[in-house]
Amino acid sequence: MFDFGIITKWIHDWLLSFMPMGLATVIECMLVGIFIILLYLVVAVIMIYMERKVCAAFQCRLGPNRVGPWGTIQLVCDVIKMLTKEIISIRSSDKFLYNLAPFIVILASVMAFSCLPFGRGIEVLDFNVGIFFLMASSSIGVVGVLLAGWGSNNKYSLIGAMRSGAQMISYELSASISLLTIILLTDTMQFSEIVMRQEDTWFIFKGHIPAFIAFVIYLIAGNAEVNRGPFDLPEAESELTAGFHTEYSGMHFGLFYVAEFVNLFIIAGVAATIFLGGWMPLHIAGWENFNAVMDFIPSIVWFFGKTLFVVWLLMWMKWTFPRLRIDQILTLEWKYLIPISMLNLLIMTIVVVFKLHF
């Protein structure tokens, strides 16, 4: 399987051959920044196009199909339209907080985004406390949402922000407990290491019953954390117009919109990495020829394939279930998901301590 670390090492050596170490480091940092921006935009475009097409398929429509082949140019047109809209900020808002909110939301999603291992050798942030860092950085997003709602000085925004604050922090608990369940199996929190440990079997198969329960809980909690699906009441358009971003227009709104879709991708990417093996191909012990064929498929294709499959599951959830009320959401989290995930953690501990896994 191709290791993208070869390319980065080659660039590093090539730069060092004609310039000092310091300058080479600066240029590498700029390359990393450009790579992140490009990948971020590509993922956002893919996600928005996929959302429209999947939504249309679930509602027996065609979706965008006029601009370009199968409507693929539609997204470019939308971006240009968004850029040419006037940015209106209302008079009575708290200007500083109002303008700060998009920065925090984008910062949280970019920081979490760069933790993901996209392929063999493509990792930007690869800390030894990777999962912990990811949970920490993605929860900064709540602050941005609350600031957006509070700074707008609008009742819809305030209600939307309060709801999403209560919901996002609540569901973060069961999401992190279900990730903990898998850390028990690996004894590491580094993403690249976690992927390497899944060379023989993916963790969802290795951890059998508790891992599967954790996977389902993580999908539900992740869906609630990005304010989507049946849990989209922070921006329930039929009662709150647009929730916390009611007062944002043009590109200001576009940033929230992009961050929401990339956050969905991050949730799916983490689920794919932790439970479904990340970029590691499907290996079955003893089937040498099968494993060799699977190794031919590039690691990026594996990662994006698994991630988009999980995204598709989440979209299926979104377009199937009706929206929940705030009390139902909090009941689901505090009275069902947290006790179940704690019990699941205990079961997983027993499985790990007594070596009952595959």
Binding site: E86, D126, I131, N153
Partner: protein, 117 residues
């Protein structure tokens, strides 16, 4: 530690994304001035009073509960990373830890803190 350098790069990148998007939009978007556009969006009626007001206390109750459980999760992360090495002792110790926590949750449940009124 190259990763920490990249962390700074990532933070700067995020700020650049926002500034670039807003800058381009400010540069090419049309502009018109109208006092009506500065009003907040509420049903077409003039807004009554400010929105910075006292809010339902139930949300803060859940925030406090979240704080308790989040700190607990922080304590569990290092435990989870080493439990394969310490074996049965790790199981017993976390059993007591979770027992105390579940008692806390049960107390909150019993007191009606989890009800939405």
């Amino acid at each position: 530690m190259m990763s920490f350098t990249y962390l700074i790069v990532v933070i700067i990148t995020a700020v650049i994304i926002v500034i670039a998007a807003l800058g381009v939009a400010k540069a090419i978007s049309p502009r018109s001035y109208n006092p009506q556009k500065g009003e907040s969006y509420e049903c077409g009626m003039p807004t009554q009073g400010k929105s910075w007001m006292q809010f339902k206390v139930g949300y803060y109750l859940f925030a406090i509960l979240f704080l308790m459980f989040d700190v607990e999760t922080v304590f569990l992360f290092p435990w989870a990373a080493v439990v394969q090495n310490i074996g049965v002792q790790g199981l017993v110790s976390v059993l007591f830890f979770l027992l105390i926590l579940v008692l806390g949750l049960a107390y909150a449940w019993r007191k009606g803190a989890l009800e939405w009124k």
